[in-house]
Symmetry: C2
Subunit: 198 residues, 2 copies
DNA sequence: GAACTATACTGAGGGAGTCTCAGTTTGGAT
DNA sequence: ATCCAAACTGAGACTCCCTCAGTATAGTTC
């Protein structure tokens, strides 16, 4: 329930600023992948070759750093949804998109929790991107429902709960056993309509 | 992938030790409920009226404190499964038990993550209790499958993934909107057999 | 190319939390 | 009354978070 406009990190105008911004982002991605979203910021700054104050200058909160590190991937997801919306098989389209989404949500430990929060908390850097995703996912769901392939009472919110749950389970089992594909398949089979048109 | 026998906290023999052990446990339950599993241990010790060293004497790791704080609830769950095993309606029994389990898994923020780890990591204080739960849940699942009410290819491991996912989603939405009952219902409807005997 | 200034960088330092251990106290047995 | 294993204490070393006063510099202007 944070309030006020969240800080969205912007690539700086000065050359040295851009250089450091990029270095921090690269170090952050590596660190998040290794240690999860709670990776040490001091460590990230050191690996980027900057002082801790510089990291905070560009990314005033951990959430803003996570947002910047995952921005592109989420944008991809939205773009992919728009492409899939034209598919002749809406259930296949929905399935494919959800698989992609789950994969992205579990890029590193802790991400899905942050995104789930962002979904409902406007005072969060990732909120805007999450909203866009929500919308494009809802479109795919509606199409599959209109084609009679998915139970009509499923809401977009529920779809995202299922999605997040699947991503969380996958995240838990990283990096060894990979429980997710099966989980998502179960969920998908669970929400398809019981009596397909003969 | 921790190794060695995990430390399971035991109620001490000396009277002062027992007093403090109980006080710490009570303070911990309150703190976990309020702040999640990452609640400050110094704070818990202070509220229990003991020095930090005393807390560490009884509970050498955070996981051992969580284990002790949730031990009874998990034992209840196992007992309930044994009672439900005698039910004439195995699907109803499974449903009721899963609902109970989800409620318990989301007693406080962070618990379901700890339990999910414990399920597969033997070097964890909660591993023994999780194993017992796994077994009793698997029994209920088998019964429902034998009665032809649940898809026969669902494994106990998958059941627990679904369970944990539901608990995690519920935990995320605490304390305001409560997304879980619906989530679990969707999952349950998803795993019941498609063509019930006529 | 010198002066200027907004932008950017630095790192010491205060705060919070974790965990350990050398020294001290005490419950309960003999 | 004595004893000692069990239990308690809290200072201190460590890690991490985050801020801010002081310093440096990229890029613009003349």
């Amino acid at each position: 329930m944070t309030t006020g406009t969240p800080h969205i990190a912007q690539r700086p105008k000065r050359a040295d600023g851009r250089r450091n911004y990029d270095a921090i982002l690269a170090a952050a991605r590596t660190a998040f992948e290794a240690d999860g979203s709670e990776a040490s910021l001091e460590n990230i700054a050191a690996r980027a070759g900057v002082a801790i104050g510089t990291l905070y200058r560009h990314f005033p909160t951990r959430a803003s750093l996570v947002e910047a590190a995952t921005r592109d991937g989420l944008a991809d997801l939205v773009a992919r949804a728009e492409r899939l919306a034209a598919s002749p098989d809406p259930l296949e389209a929905l399935s494919e998109w959800m698989e992609q989404a789950v994969r992205h949500f579990s890029t590193f430990r802790g991400l899905v929790g942050i995104l789930a929060q962002s979904m409902y908390d406007e005072g969060t850097p990732s909120h805007a991107m999450c909203n866009a995703m929500h919308r494009s996912g809802a479109d795919l769901l509606r199409a599959a429902q209109a084609a009679g392939r998915v139970r009509p009472d499923l809401t977009p919110g529920e779809l995202f709960d299922l999605l997040s749950g699947a991503a969380w389970v996958r995240e838990q089992s990283l990096p060894d056993r990979d429980g997710s594909p099966r989980f998502l398949r179960l969920v998908l089979e669970g929400i398809t309509t019981r009596n397909p048109e003969p």
